[in-house]
Symmetry: C2
Subunit: 257 residues, 2 copies
Amino acid sequence: MSDQPSRWASQRIAEDLEARIRSGEYKPKARLPSERSLAASERVARNTARAALELLERRGLIDIVHGSGAFVREPVSLIRLGGQRYSRALREETGLSPFRAELLKQNRKGHSDCTRVERVRPPAEIAERLGLPATTKSVVVRENWYYVEDQPVQVCWTYIPVDIAKGTVLARNGDLGRGSIYARLEDAGHPIASYRDEVVARMPTNEEVLGLRIPVSVPVLDLVHTSIDADGRPFEVTHFVMRADAVALDYTISNDL
Amino acid sequence: MSDQPSRWASQRIAEDLEARIRSGEYKPKARLPSERSLAASERVARNTARAALELLERRGLIDIVHGSGAFVREPVSLIRLGGQRYSRALREETGLSPFRAELLKQNRKGHSDCTRVERVRPPAEIAERLGLPATTKSVVVRENWYYVEDQPVQVCWTYIPVDIAKGTVLARNGDLGRGSIYARLEDAGHPIASYRDEVVARMPTNEEVLGLRIPVSVPVLDLVHTSIDADGRPFEVTHFVMRADAVALDYTISNDL
DNA sequence: CAGTGGTCTAGACCACTCA
DNA sequence: GAGTGGTCTAGACCACTGT
C-alpha cells in the first residue's frame, strides 16, 4: 500500500514536512523549522535540510524568505475569467469593466489600477494584430494592474490605434466612466462583434516574479486578446499576464458547424 | 549599457554559457562541458558549476541527463489548437480528428495513439460536467496520446456516458473511421452545438514529467472540454494535459451582446 | 546583533550511460 | 569500466530580517 521510504534524505525530510503541513500541524503562514534546526533534528548536513525545503518550495507548498524563514503558503482560490466577460449585457447590467464584473459575479473583492497611459511604438506582434503597418510609430498603451483581495493576480497592456483613441478619455489616465474601456470604445464607434484570444502558458520572467509577487514555481498565463468590430477590423489588442495559480479561463463557444 | 558582472559565480557561469548558446557556439543538441571540467576551467567547486547548469535547466535552455551530460535544448515550435477544431466543416473537409486536422492545416507531421478504452467510475469533476449523479458507477473512458514529430505533446482522457457509447465503436479500441470521434458522436445523435473549455496552467506532476517527457521547468496547460448538444445537454467531457511550450490555444469568439 | 536564508568549498560515495 | 550526473557532508562567509 504505502510507498517505500524514499532513498534520499532530502526527499524523505520533504515528504515528512509535507505530511505535517497537510495534516494541519503547520497551518498556512506558519513558519517551518530553520535550516539549521532541521539539520540538527534530522541529523543531516544543513545543505540537505535546505534541499528538502527547496523541494517543497518548487512544489508550491511553502515560500522561503531570505533572512526570515520558510512559511506555509496560503492556498489561493482561482478567479475564473469567463469568455462572456466582454458582453455588453454584463457590462450594462453592472456598469463595470470585464474584470470587475467577473469579480462581482463570483462575489470576490478586488480592484484594478491604471498605472500608465502613453503613446509608444507598438511591438511587432501588436501592430500585426491591429492590422497596422510595421512602420507605425505610435499607438496608445494603457497599463493596468488587477488585484484580488489585495494580491496582484494580473497585469495587462491595452493597445489602441491613435486615430481611435485621440481626443477621447481613452488617451488620458482618468476615470473611464460607466462600463469602462469597452463602453468607451463602443462610444467611439467600435463595439466588439467578435474577439480572438491567443493563450500560452510559460514560466514568469524575473520582472514578472517581482511585479506580480509570484512565488517561484508558479507559471503564468500569457493571453493576447484582439477585439474585432462588425466589419471584421481589429481595433484593440490587450496583452495579459496572469498568475496561473490565481486565474483560470473559461470559454463557452457555440460551434459553427 | 551592459549589466554589471553578477555577484555570484554560479550566475556568472550560467550567463557565460547562455551567451555562448545564443551565439551559436553551442548549437541545439550539443553537449556542454561536464560539471567536473567546468569546475576546473572556471576554478570553482563542482557544486558551483553544477548550480550554474541547474540555473540554465530551470530557464529551459538545456536538458541535463543523468549519466550522460547537459545538452542544449532544441527550440520547439508551437502547435496552435484553434477554437474551430471541433467544427463539422473542418472535419468533413479533411476526414480527420480535431488534432490531426489542426496539424494538417499547419503543415506539421504527427500522429495520435489511443492507448486505452475501458469503463471506469467517473471522477467527481467529470460526472458533474456530464450532468451525471455523483453515484454513477461507470462511464467509458478513452485515453489518447498525441505526438508532433514523434514528441509527445498532449494526453487526454475522453469520458462518454455508457448509454451513448454502448454498442458503438466508441466503446471499443479500434479505428473510429472518417471524422474520428466527433463524427461518431454525431452518428449517435449528438452533434456539438456548443462547448465549454476550462483552462488552467500549472506545473506538471511527476507522472506527467515521465509520460510527456517534459523537461522540468516546463508548465502544462490543463484543459477540460465539455461538448454540449442542441438541447443544452453535455454528452462528452475530455480532460487534456498539454506541454505548454509545445501547444498554444487560439479561440475566436463571436461576442453575444 | 542574533538568527535567518544564500552561496560556496573540497571533498566523498552512489546511480546511470555508453562504448 | 571510465565518465557522467545525483546526493551528501561539514564546514565557511555573505546578505537579509527583525528586534
